[in-house]
Chain length 445, copies 2
Amino acid sequence: MLKTYFRRAQPGLCLLFAALIGATAFAETAPVFPDADASDPAKLGWMIGAPPPADRILRFEDGSYFRFPALRWSVSHFRQLMPTTNVSRGLESPVALPAALRSDIDRLRFTPLDTKTPMSWEQSLAATYTDGILVLHRGKVVYERYFGSLKPQGQHAAMSVTKSVIGTLGATLVAEGLIDVNRPVKDYVPELAKSAFGNASVRQVLDMTTALDYSEDYGDPNAAVWAHAQAGNPLPKPADYQGPRTYYEFLQSVQPEGEHGSAFAYKTVNTDVLGWVIARATGHNVAQVLSERIWSRLGAEQDAYFTVDSIGTPFAGGGLNTGLRDLARFGEMLRNDGRVNGRQVVPASVVEDIRRGADKAAFAKAGYSLLKGWSYRDMWWVTHNDHGAYMARGVHGQRIYIDPKAEMVIVRYASHPVASNSANDPVTLPAFEALGKFLLEHPQK
Amino acid sequence: MLKTYFRRAQPGLCLLFAALIGATAFAETAPVFPDADASDPAKLGWMIGAPPPADRILRFEDGSYFRFPALRWSVSHFRQLMPTTNVSRGLESPVALPAALRSDIDRLRFTPLDTKTPMSWEQSLAATYTDGILVLHRGKVVYERYFGSLKPQGQHAAMSVTKSVIGTLGATLVAEGLIDVNRPVKDYVPELAKSAFGNASVRQVLDMTTALDYSEDYGDPNAAVWAHAQAGNPLPKPADYQGPRTYYEFLQSVQPEGEHGSAFAYKTVNTDVLGWVIARATGHNVAQVLSERIWSRLGAEQDAYFTVDSIGTPFAGGGLNTGLRDLARFGEMLRNDGRVNGRQVVPASVVEDIRRGADKAAFAKAGYSLLKGWSYRDMWWVTHNDHGAYMARGVHGQRIYIDPKAEMVIVRYASHPVASNSANDPVTLPAFEALGKFLLEHPQK
């Protein structure tokens, strides 16, 4: 009943949610999509006009907003579609991002993993439906481009990049002693005692080695992800709705499947649980804590924001939206061992912990064919490549890529028609690696 | 049918809308309300906790959020309740608001118009359920206090203060020649040709001397204001709903009553029409134009935002939310003849036009007993007192008060239990006048 209602009346949220937390089902059935230029939201005129033409109006309630190519507009306008809560930047002056733009990056060539046909960096932007991309090298902006609906003064959905931000926040509270990473989740959230999370340690949640009966298979109408999505839907519930009404209610219903600690299994609910633990350990929700601990200390230009459920709970698993330049500041802070302008924002030990990564064998069990030899630590994807790079990854192409050896940070917002990163990784992974190598070998003169 | 549904299913929006646009009906039936301290939203615990206690959860859909004392929380959290659109501050460093705080203001005494019992400035804050108040004298912050849910890094509903901001924006476009104030509205918005606004001039809209068959009497279940509210409701409409679905659709239904130009009649729809004219004249909605023309040039610390209808139309008549300190920057810009740090943001001729006011006889026909001798120009309330003060006024106590002679700007956000300003004017009017006189006579040493 719940599911039937949901799929009938709220396809939009299904699609949104699928995208936010990492749907893979779309990839298999994807038709040929219009290219980046043909799907440019400004050219297509979504939501332009007073009023916009009827066939160019996008509404949260009917789901049209999250079908490609409309989603190319929506990812830069979540706030206009649903209720949200701010992550304040504070009131101070932003910390400057000095520019030293380079014209040679566009010509950089690399070989995609799938086609094996060499491509230029500039071509990779359209190939990945980039909305905005910024590269910092040694702290200076060497590359910055915007497309589609995104502008420097705008916010874009970070999708599951949210998880790495929340993971960093959680690890910070662990380092400060506010959260004991070895204690079971139920010590912080007694309501979760009877769920799969009750006896999982905070460390297992942080590294997603919990063993959960929770399917994110969007092809399966019985998958738990649908109930999760409906629980978090901020719209009024139908009168006959009997299911969980909030993220917190849903989390209590997740049951175990197997034993915690042995295998990495990427499941969004872990980050929602971490968000709950953070809220209980601090007395404030993740939007407030992120502002207090990190965002207001980054020298950010803009407030960030979270989408919320019907009781104002920020969607810790995928609801963050930020300016591209502020996401770059976040990445650069980590590259600088947690410091901004010499001030420690995140403990250096947290950054070391992320960089060190986790158990590669546990990660391998998840079977990512393009991510061999990687691990997952504190909700970051750790490449273990020879540059020591680590990534935040969100569906439709959202990325933070930190390459310590090359002293480089790449942030990218995108609206690739296929949610799963397996669709853009064949271009993204070699492109980012190539740029790190290029900047290492050819620093600015 | 429309109305019946609305009052049955969406009491929250009724209350909100009534408040946003200037309800007076509540005043007559108001019971005794808990005082400012007893209704403090932090003490009452609205939306605090993960999750909050069931009786402390506020939702847009059920209307609980806008009943006193819950509204004391909600006016600082509209964004968390409904979809919104940003008014970007830009990306630059804020323009400083230098502080020169004075401790003598709290002891200033004045006589309220109703009780005739002298009161101190400090006592006036609680008496008017102040959430935040800031006083600039000669460009320096001499007084700044926060209560309730409002913090310096937060936004509060400006309610009908929005109108004065939009009026300033409209007058700016008139001064720049983008809008001809003598042309009829239908020249800009042909869809309004058959409505009351079709043959009204932009000047009549700006000064609210249009003659409209539009009642804002909340005691009347047939008042047009209910249909206006329902049209602008961003929530999904019921399946059998037949009425207008957007602000723009509603405006086309407003019919004339009498002749334009002879009497001031305060009706929110005028500002919505002005917003539409601005959108057509510029190609962008009022949130975008306000950012481009004014907000990004103020040196604001925070983005502001508008609530929107189901197709993303900013609610020009009452949907603006801002930081208190940024509202002060806006007022100070006007006090400085439209300049910020020596840069002209709004033409000086616009500020002169506002200060000069409009026809007092037309204003007198509206019958405001406490506002005798005033006029209404460019959506500002002009006192014509000996300091030449002019005000922006929003229900529940929102204010910008600019006193040119005293070189003073007061901005106040509040959550008075009674929407109508007639409930707080007996304290507010003499308090603000007294402070202007005091600062003029006792400048900082």
